[in-house]
Amino acid sequence: MSSPSNRIIVGVDVGGTFTDVFFLNEADGTCDVAKVPSTRGDQSIGIREGITSRIADLGQVGTIVHGTTVGTNALLERKGVRTGLITTRGFRDVLEMRRRDRPQTWGLWGHFDPIVPRDLRLEVDERVLADGTVAEELDPEQVREAARTLLERGAQALCIFFINGYANQQNEQKALEAAKQVWPNEHISVASEILPEIREFERGSTASLNAYLQPLVGSYLERLEAGLRDGGFGGEVLIVQSNGGVMSVATARALPVRTALSGPAAGVIAAGYIAESAGFPNVITCDMGGTSFDVSLVADGQSALAAQTSIDFGMIVRTPMIEITTIGAGGGSIASVDRGGLLQVGPESAGSDPGPVCYGLGNDRPTVTDANVVMGRINADRPIGGKLDRLDVEAAKQAIEKHIAKPLGLDVMAAAEAIVRVANARMAGAIRLVSIERGHDPKRFSAMPFGGGGSLHAGALIKEVGLASALVPRYPGVTSALGCVIADMRHDRVQTVNTRLDDLPVETVEAQILDIVGHSESMLGEAGVGFDRIDHIVEFDMLYVGQTHTVTVPVPLQIEAGRTQAGRTGLSRDLIKTSFEDAYKAAFGRLLDGIPMQVMNLRVAVVGRRPKFDLALLAPSAEGQVADAVLGQRNVWQDGDWRDTTIYDRMALPLGARVEGPALLEQADTTIFVDAGLAASVDRFGNLIMERQ
């Protein structure tokens, strides 16, 4: 536990341009933020600079929680290490053959290079059958021989992956022992340890990506910790996982694949907490970047988790991750008119370099940002991001004129508005996808933009999808860093069972659950942080015999941290059955009587709830007048006309202030557009709540 002398908790999120830091001083109840340029070669330098920009003595810091993109970037840019694979004879191409898919429905030009090249995938004689029987014993010498060959060929990390390893780990464990005798480093990933779940491609892909990241993420975390210790830091470093929980550095080094969506997950966690504190338990978070628009659903304060995520074509990571739906509609998304005369926005993007036309860095095709600039919604004299002094409105206008207005027979302003409307419609589609399609009524949800771009479009999304309101947090630009500070510690574990419910050995399964719980709780204990309480979530993936897709079935059990004994959890065949029926009915409407049920996987999550802080810390003063926050007036294009619009300094608006649309609210990290017909008010946490008037 933290002592009074080191009661500062620091959350750090490293983005492409900036490293955001959020400081919470538990001793005096104050908080602070810092923003420094990211250091691309070694992110840990920027992190240290960010922290020391506010706190000279790192000894005052108790915990540093970090959402990292080192793993994400290595995956997207394919910059992991040379990785070798040892697998069952006859199956070295599983990783390359995928699930026999292709990148697009239409067009047959796809290509795929697996991260482990074919000459680094070697086979050994061994075989486990689906029921766990060892049909062929492993010869350790073959493994040593293969490992030596891989080393000769330059492999720096190793993955051991055998067919049906989920059903019996014996051969993989023997192979691990043999490989260790030869392998010069700790970077060995064993598939059944990382994911003891049926489906060879998904398991092999996840395990090999883990190996691919291990040396990179490991050495990064080592540098980070060493640098912080040099500066006098004596506390704990925690890493945000893709499931939104945090883990220790030791766990992150063993399971780096769990950091694949570390950064975005922290943002969603913060958004959920901010919104729930403000009385909005149902929100859809919207993160608009240069090339994409990411949405995620939080219902009743809980983030939806996806069982697997495709990082890129053929790059599957199967570990629970905050479900984030991405569409290609960011500020840099390019607008065009196709040969059929249809206006398109995205998915092609100018990104941040060269970026929108108005950046003047060489792109001449209009983007969403260009349309916003032309309509006066983005202040050309005060660009966000800090790289440029001002934006070139005239160039943006010309680009829209040439590429959109002329082909569509519109004037340039109508064309700019059309681009934004189509972009809004695409974003609305993404929101519909995560809400209506999952059975949620958007009227019960609020949009919560974070990051730089989303706040301009939030008002339109209220109108387009019929959302109840929008909530813009006080510091949208540092949401992810704030999320780091409040994220819980969480460990997920899956085990394939694959047995009919009628034949399920309930006592054995209960013992398995308690075993996993014990293991995960000791991982929590080793992390050196305090928890308010520990929660246990037990779920089964189940189906009717004959189906192939499962439904997730939460089973309410009585488990007390460190104290539950076998026979006391309440697990029974009947409980599993009724829980399945509830879950199935909720998903598909009707049950299928007479068909037996199958239990495919067991999932256990152990969550250490970390103490939360009172967001009222962030609130502005109640003193002051709305009029004092007015920066001036500007013409802003809306609904087919220029309208005189008041510009406010968002940070100067006092608690309880109310502003009616149309209005523009500017702050350092974003611009908020309050459409006509909407009104925005400042709540007691400093959030801006936008609603219909």
């Binding site: 053959m97 239409w106 047959l108 067919i163 049926i198 059929g340 249809l342 189906q547 897709h549």
Partner: protein, 588 residues
């Protein structure tokens, strides 16, 4: 107010509303797809996505909107299915609100008996607005062979039950007797019942979502939007065709056999491009055959649609794609049969139709096409009884390579161009059935040589763990390999073998197996073709050839014989020797 897709509106719709509507409509069809995939029982729908959903025109049945994740070939075929219902209902006084029709008649609705189509009229304010439809490939619909790929069928009656368009719901009232008939005709009634429920749910969902959309925009606006989307797809398609040089472009390809007589069947195509119209003339095509590789006219048109959409991929998926296309498909040819000619193996024939379109178009549009994909569905059915008497049927499609293309080498181990199907994990198959895979690997030298090489096909070897099983395997490309384009070479042949007490065998019909008996420990082996090459292999960068040898995609022998590159087994390139050899080959 129904979406009149026939006429171009005098007052065009504003482009913004149109773009927004397009997204909303596609989302409805996508969501119907997703609902069925999640709740389906059989892996052919749940994993392989052999299903489709969409919105169809109230009078013509033309495709208005189609889901993106469904089986591509259904995009064209479903409009015929809806039209079949429209015609059938017209004779009985028309459709009513609450009706849902069900049928699988392939001569009216396209494809084959395994595909059950549900068609539901959508009414708005008491008037027919459009149709919603759902199609899914059921696990077993009776007939002689479990899984319904009967390589020796000579009549559709040997392939499965044939249900004409009948009402599953009559004015909202469910008819359980229909379901009883269906279930009594299947080896796997539980699976059938589950899939049927999934399709009903998908239609119900589509109905709700479309109503919500009409609430937001009004029926008139949506109808106008639908008409305009079709007109624009047609306009886009015409502009692409107009870019191609006028002329006649021909290609011929062959099926190995019809499963009954081992003699080839020709598919001959002349593409005539004139201005912004394109004629697909199949006059040089073999007459209908005795076996199951015939297709109906509607299926033939649907497969042309698939080929054109792969080449002109930016054109939206609706009936407008076909608007500038004319067809000549001789009646009672292989591509236009009527009942009771068997059609169960339709996949092979439509893949061949797609291949001849690629090869013919490569002459007119070299930058837009690719070498042919592996060109066969490889439908494998292994069936038997367990020790306790329970029947088991393992049924799955096996993949191959895609063709080389202007952007690069073809994809290794892809899915067929007519589908978006994924293959089930072998661990799932081993957990569900008494089989053990002994190999699941890429097949070296199976991709066609080219400047851009065809992707490799696969080797799948399966050992039986139970006492007895029958093997049925339906494939093609055993004697006519997938061709390359623009001097790219053909991929490897499809090769099937099976093991019996006296050793390994090849099936008499090369690419088809019928009721082969296996006992414990015996194996069946599929070695599938890759894709065809793109451009001459003599133009391929020798360093890339050497790299292919080093990684084992191409053997050293093939590097010499087919690329004129001298590369040793380890991938070391003999550069001077290669220059000499290539000069020699070029001068021959």
């Amino acid at each position: 107010m129904s979406p009149d897709t026939g006429k171009v509106e005098t007052q065009p719709m504003d482009p913004v509303t149109l773009a927004v509507l397009k997204g909303r409509l596609e989302q409805i069809a996508d969501e119907m797809d997703a609902t069925l995939f999640r709740s389906a029982f059989n892996p052919i729908i749940a994993e392989a996505h052999d299903a489709s959903h969409g919105l169809y025109h109230a009078e013509t049945g033309e495709t208005l909107v189609q889901g993106k994740s469904g089986l591509p070939v259904f995009v064209g075929a479903m409009s015929f299915a809806v039209k079949a219902v429209i015609d059938r209902a017209a004779k009985a006084g028309g459709v009513s609100q609450g009706d849902v029709y069900i049928f699988n008649d392939p001569y009216e609705g396209g494809t084959h008996l395994s595909d059950f189509k549900l068609v539901r009229p959508f009414f708005r304010d008491g008037k027919l607005f459009c149709y919603l439809a759902s199609v899914g490939h059921w696990h077993d619909v009776g007939g002689n062979v479990p899984g319904n790929y009967n390589p020796v069928a000579t009549e559709c009656f040997q392939e499965g039950m044939l249900i004409p368009p009948v009402k599953l719901y009559d004015k909202g009232e469910f008819r359980p007797d229909i379901v009883e008939i269906l279930k009594s005709n299947s080896r796997l009634p539980g699976s059938l019942y589950g899939d049927l429920n999934g399709q009903i749910n998908a239609l119900e969902l589509g109905d709700q979502r479309l109503n919500a959309l009409l609430d937001d925009y009004g029926a008139e606006t949506v109808a106008q939007g639908l008409a305009e989307l079709k007109a624009r797809a047609g306009q886009l398609m015409r502009s692409f065709i107009a870019d191609l040089p006028d002329g006649t472009y021909s290609a011929d390809d062959f099926l190995d056999n019809d499963g009954i007589t081992d003699s080839p069947l020709q598919i001959g195509l002349d593409i005539r491009i004139e201005g912004d119209r394109m004629m697909l003339d199949f006059a040089r095509t073999s007459p209908a055959c005795a076996g199951p590789v015939n297709i109906s006219r509607s299926t033939a048109i649907a497969s042309c649609y698939v080929a054109l959409k792969h080449v002109f991929r930016d054109v939206p998926a609706n009936a407008g794609v076909l608007e500038p296309i004319d067809f000549n498909i001789p009646i009672e040819s292989l591509l236009s049969v009527s009942a009771p000619k068997p059609v169960g193996g339709y996949t092979e024939t439509i893949l061949r139709v797609i291949d001849v379109i690629f090869v013919a178009l490569s002459q007119a549009a070299p930058d837009m096409v690719n070498g042919c994909a592996y060109g066969t569905i490889n439908a494998l059915s292994l069936a038997g009884h367990r020790a306790d008497g329970r029947r088991w049927v393992m049924f799955s499609f096996f993949g191959g390579g895609h063709g080389g293309n202007p952007e690069g080498d073809g994809l290794n181990h892809g899915n067929a161009p007519i589908s978006t199907a994924t293959i089930p994990p072998l661990e799932i198959l081993e957990a569900a059935y008494p089989v053990q895979f002994t190999q699941w690997a890429l097949r070296p030298d199976s991709g066609g040589p080219g400047t851009q090489r065809g992707g490799n096909g696969a080797i799948y070897e399966i050992k039986l763990l139970e006492k007895n099983a029958d093997v049925f395997l339906f494939g093609e490309r055993g004697k006519y390999a997938p061709p390359g384009v623009l001097d790219g070479e053909s991929a490897a042949f499809n090769k099937f073998t099976y093991e019996q007490d006296d050793g390994p065998h090849e099936p008499p019909m090369v690419s088809k197996m019928v009721g082969i008996k296996l006992t414990t420990g015996q194996k069946v082996r599929l070695e599938t073709p890759g894709g065809g090459g793109y451009g001459s292999p003599l133009q391929r960068d020798p360093d890339l050839v050497a790299e292919d040898v080093r990684l084992g995609y191409v053997t050293s022998a093939a590097a010499r014989d087919r690329y004129a590159c001298i590369v040793d087994e380890s991938g070391e390139l003999d550069r001077p020797g290669t220059i000499v050899l290539r000069q020699e080959v070029a001068s021959q």
